[in-house]
């Protein structure tokens, strides 16, 4: 099955040992294409044509690309939700996945949602409550714990969507457009939380079609023509130097539409570089 279950207790030893002990996730030669299931309807689209990626503990990697370039497909492959046509993904430890859409049960309350995902992650009740309350406090949705998911605003749904991925304090965090719909304060809180996780050794990949604050990332990779290309920007400070644990630096705001944005001090870069529709 393509899914990689969470919980290292279920880990199996790969017959191919990792080349670099520090790598917590390695994807090599990932290929994925979508074929039309019916004749004469649709067309075959080659989305990934050999994407490679390595993540190491405590680094934040940005993955950018145009709409339709295959970012979400790549993330689904990395997390194990989608089977690649070719290539291999290996990782160690637990993974947290924040999908682009809020994949939650609409008629459950926020509290029930955490209870259910806590079971999935194999957490005990006390730990679930602790983590849920901590995340609700940090992302400011404590007042909505007894609201049904389908009764939440878009921004609050996204907060819960993100918090579910963070609930078990994973070793690898894969986030797909995680701050879409966030207000400015929540956006800053998100990056505060990220710094906290990075300090604890979590490897984070943030997928976005728009990365505006490059100093927040150790590396930025562009998904173009189905493969990942490292973007170099000599003028930018590395994330560790830019922040040094002192909290967020201003920049363009969250969300696809840039709503709630504020002009930043450092390294504002508009949009992404070239690519093509995948």
């Amino acid at each position: 099955m393509p899914n990689i279950p969470n919980g290292s207790a279920n880990a199996t030893q790969s017959d191919v040992p990792p080349d670099d002990d520090a790598v917590v996730l390695r994807a090599a030669g990932i290929e994925k294409r979508y074929d039309s299931t019916l004749p004469l309807v649709g067309r075959t689209v080659e989305v990934l044509t050999g994407a490679d990626l390595e993540l190491r503990p405590g680094e934040v990697v940005g993955i950018v690309g145009e709409n339709g370039s295959g970012k979400s497909t790549l993330l689904k492959v990395l997390v194990g939700a989608l089977r690649p046509d070719a290539g291999e993904v290996r990782r160690t430890g637990t993974v947290g996945w924040c999908p682009q859409e809020t994949l939650l049960y609409d008629r459950l309350t926020v509290r029930e949602t955490f209870e259910l995902f806590g079971e999935a992650y194999g957490m005990d009740d006390r730990r679930v409550r602790e983590r849920r309350d901590h995340l609700a406090d940090r992302l400011d949705f404590a007042g909505f714990l007894d609201y049904r998911i389908d009764h939440l605003s878009g921004g609050n749904r996204q907060k819960v969507n993100l918090a579910v991925a963070l609930l078990h304090d994973p070793d690898v965090l894969l986030l797909d457009e995680p701050y879409t719909g966030f207000d400015w304060e929540t956006y800053l809180a998100f990056w505060d939380l990220t710094e906290e996780l990075v300090a604890g050794g979590t490897a984070i990949a943030v997928i976005s079609h728009l990365v505006s604050e490059r100093e927040r990332f150790d590396r930025i990779l562009e998904l173009r023509d189905g493969t990942l290309h490292e973007q170099s920007d000599p003028s930018r400070k590395p994330r560790s130097a830019a922040h040094g644990g002192d909290g967020p630096v201003g920049g363009e705001g969250p969300g696809d539409d840039g709503s709630g944005s504020a002009e930043g001090e450092v390294g504002r870069i508009e949009g992404t570089t070239g690519g093509r529709e995948g």
Partner: protein, 258 residues
């Protein structure tokens, strides 16, 4: 057990938070049972009916109500939760356990819908073996609930899935009830020529329910085929559900221990 219990409890919580479905559960069975009974009162007394037309109509209506309702529950259980289920399996919730929570929820709803339908049936028909008849009714619901899960995974859209299920249940029920005597037979490997009706999912539950409700007997010869339907649908449901939530086949994805 913790995951199964939590998943089932929250599955039921989700279900009861759908007021229209709850209303359907209460209203549909009585309407269907009575409609079939009244509509068939003037029907000719055919030997294939096995009872007076009104009673045969209520037997058929009760089975149809429970089967179709369970089928819809099975269908919507897997369609509406498909994407979130995929995330749950990625998070580590075992796929088999997740499917089990869906099935237990479906059985619970079948019990409730079956109780309503059977209550209406028992008010109009003198039931010879109530406990046995109710058990058989739940079995019929289980067969169609599983069928709903299979249809929901293969046709993962609510409208199209519902259409498939309604046509399936309608044709199945009509042919299984004896209202339209069918002589056609098809060759089945190892079994020779078998009547077409014998291959329908509701035929054997119909025979079991008629025997239990009207004669107070357990028609043991029909238990095997029903069990075969349940086991076959369970297997197909597991494979189809596993595939729909992202699994089912070996994948070139590995993990290692640090």
């Amino acid at each position: 057990m913790g995951r199964l219990a939590t998943g089932t409890r929250l599955g039921l919580v989700e279900f009861v938070r759908q007021p229209t479905t709850l209303a359907m559960l209460l209203v549909l069975p009585p309407v269907v049972v009575e409609t079939y009974g009244v509509a068939l009162e003037s029907f000719p007394q055919l030997p294939s009916l096995g009872a007076d037309p009104a009673t045969a109509g209520r037997v058929t209506g009760t089975l149809f109500a429970v089967a179709f309702l369970s089928g819809l529950v099975g269908l919507f259980q897997v369609i509406s939760a498909r994407s979130a289920d995929e995330r749950m399996t990625v998070a580590g919730f075992p796929r088999a356990t997740l499917l089990a929570t869906r099935l237990v929820t479906m059985v619970a709803v079948t019990l409730a819908g079956g109780a309503v339908a059977f209550g209406v049936f028992a008010r109009r028909v003198d039931v010879a073996a109530p406990a046995l008849a109710f058990g058989v009714l739940v079995l019929a619901g289980l067969v169609y609930g599983l069928l709903g899960v299979v249809v929901g995974t293969l046709v993962p859209r609510e409208l199209e899935g519902s259409v498939v299920l309604v046509f399936l249940a309608d044709v199945d029920n009509a042919l299984s009830s004896g209202l339209f005597p069918v002589d056609a037979a098809v060759p089945v490997p190892g079994a020779g020529d078998v009547a077409v009706t014998d291959l329908l999912p509701l035929y054997h539950p119909h025979e079991l329910f008629s025997a239990a409700a009207l004669e107070g007997e357990l028609a043991t010869g029909h238990l095997g085929p029903v069990a075969a339907w349940v086991l076959a649908l369970l297997g197909i449901a597991f494979l189809a559900y596993g595939h729909s939530t992202g699994g089912g086949l070996p994948a070139p994805v590995r993990r290692w221990s640090p």
